[in-house]
Amino acid sequence: MVLTKGMLLLAGGIGLVVLGLLLGVVLLVTLGRKRKGIEEAVRREYD
């Protein structure tokens, strides 16, 4: 099977979408935890 420009673009696009989704999930979890930590620290500060 010969790899054409269209196939390469399509594969690259799918790869980027998958990468973006994975990155999104990882960042969502990481930043979510960080936010909870900040909220907890601020709550302790005013209690």
């Binding site: 269209g6 399509l10 799918i14 979408v17 990468l19 909220e39 601020v42």
Partner: protein, 795 residues
Amino acid sequence: MALPFVLEGSAMLFYSAENLMKKFFKTESAQFQGGCPLEEKNTPVCIFGKSHFSTELIETGRKTQYNITIDMKKAEQMFPFCGDALCSRGKGGAMATVLEDGVSAIPREVLGDDLVDVRPLGQQGGFSNLFRAHKVGLDVDVVIKRVQGRFQGRLDQRGEARIMTALRHQYLPRIYDLKLASDGFCYTIMEFVEGCTLREYVRREGALDQKLTLKWVRQLCEVTEYMHTRRPPIIHSDLKPENVMITPQGDICVIDFNASLEAREEGQEAIGASSGFAAPEQYNLPPQRFPAGSPLLPVVRAAQGYGKVTPRTDLYAIGALGYYMLTGYDPAVWCAGVTPLTDYDIQLGDAFRQVLERAMAPKQSERFSSAGEMLRALNNLSRLDARYRRWVRQTRIAGLCVGLCLSLGVLGILLGLRTLEEENRGNYLALVEQGSTLRQQQQYAQSQQVLLEAVALDQSRIEAYSQLAALLYQQGEYQQAIDLLEGVEFHKADAMTQEEFEAAQGQIRYLEGNCFYRLEQYQQALESYQLAVWLTPDLPEYQRELAICYARTGNQKLAEETVAVMESIGAKQEDLALTRGEIAYAYGEYDQALPQLMAAAQGAGDPAVMGRAYIQAANCCMELGRTDEEIAVLEEARDRLGAASNSVQTQMLSEALLRKANENPQQRQELYQQALSLLEELLAKGYVTFTVEQNTAVVLQVLDRYEEAEALLMEMEQRYPGDYRVPMRLALLYGDLEGSRETDQRDYSRMAECWSEARRLYQAAGVQDSEMIRLEEMVAQLEQLGWDLEEGGGA
């Protein structure tokens, strides 16, 4: 009788002494004593909180004299920018005497039997007298509030009560009753709030920690939001430590709505301001009201442009109250420079400080838009924290990265799909072009394969179907061509114009019509031609076929009308001759048709017209029984058409030679040989149709070349698995072969097997075939001779 009396000052009032007398004390007879001569009556008088002045009530018959003494030292402390003016005429104090009608006692109709133990309350409202009493019915202590006669006319006596009655909130006092008594005063019986004022609390306990401050500021926001969201919204406009009660439960209770206003879109003019807790817009009054040299003028001028009182005015006061709770100090008036909270040595979170500072912004537009927003900010202090803001920045960057990845990915996918589509389109057109070239080179098998690949790439485009149908038609595979086109819905390719698409569709229908015509299904052919003509009305060949088809289906009038149309659109003479010949042929007038067709064939430059005319001319000869003339016509056709487009004529010539061979036993071998060489020529150039292969097998059989015939039929059996004609031919072949042997060497088992298969498929096909009948007769003869083909062909 002199009755010590203390006014609870709630606000600084912007009125001159004269206006003060007129508006508040309802008298023109104002007298100033102790250094305040009458000519100075236009000097602004500032009434401050209760700590700054006191009054003495002296009953003198029908008149009541108020002696108002202003404590200059305290006034200077709390309101320094007025101090000079006051001191300049003060000698340490100023006194005004006001005469007014006497104050009557609380009427019995107000107290009834329900209110007992009435006594003056230690603190007085700014515009009212307060009494404490016990409400027997509910067994609760209440406050009786009477708007003082002096303020009659300035305030709607029911105003505060009306506002309060409409408000029901846990941080507001309850109103039990509202009575307009015969003495003209309005008495409000309201909940007695236990506890102390915020001022007293802070004085006693000192500055508060930020936890308690946060709690009470939140409560202030809650109650303020509640007031601001009424219809119409209510602005307290005088929130200050004296007007905030701290209950024994540790909650706040906002009191004193004398200065409250109904919010309007254009804002309300202030009626007063409390030093330190009043927002700049509460001082924003026309400077003309103040005489030159007035100590208030600098403040009033500084307040110009800060707008009018709106719900945001209360937010400034809430911020100032928070400031007071945290520091224990009243904030300075905004234009005198409020000491920043950061200058105090207090524990204060950055986020909370930001909220208070924003609430105390001099410009209304810079404050929170509502108490609700401020409350949300207080409930989400973490969002104002520096760490949270850093987190937001990180989240934005992360979101940007993810968004970029996804956007680029989607873009790549879209671009990839588009590029793939373009590549497919390019491949498709290249295959169609290749298939067309191969077809022109008579490499039919390769052409078909290539075109089928093109169809597999895009099953909705018309070009490959068009070429494939033309190829099948050219090979005489009419039914296959019809099956190919049946049920296919074509879509216009982007690269095609609508006209091109319609032309291609017309061509497809034309080819379909040709196929139906060849299969003598004239009604279907007519429908296809009509469609082709509707799509492309200007092509003479479409009109020609339509005319011929009309003739074939008995519509002579329509056929002649169509010929007339052909003439009108400039059809060539050979086309017209061919059409007329075909019409004559359709009506069985072969003698008349033949010269027309020959004229068309010999005059035509288009190989298609030429080939068609020769074919029909040969058919005319066949119908007239002129086999030799038929052969001559077909040979002429072969010569003129050339190898590229004479396949059908060659096949017909071979069939004509076979017919002649059957008619002339003497020349049979020679004619068979000629027919065989023509058929082999056709097979060699890829014109592999069922008829050609079958005829080849028959000729090989009659020339006693059984093995070659058998091999060819075996190949055909593979190629046409459900066709009864192949096993039928094999059965005939084996019957003929065994018949050529000695009786004792004959074995009809293979014939029996093929005959059985042919009979099964023949019955399933439901057709009539003379060759099959011949085979059955042959089998019957063999059975009569003792060969039992039903039982496997044994003797």
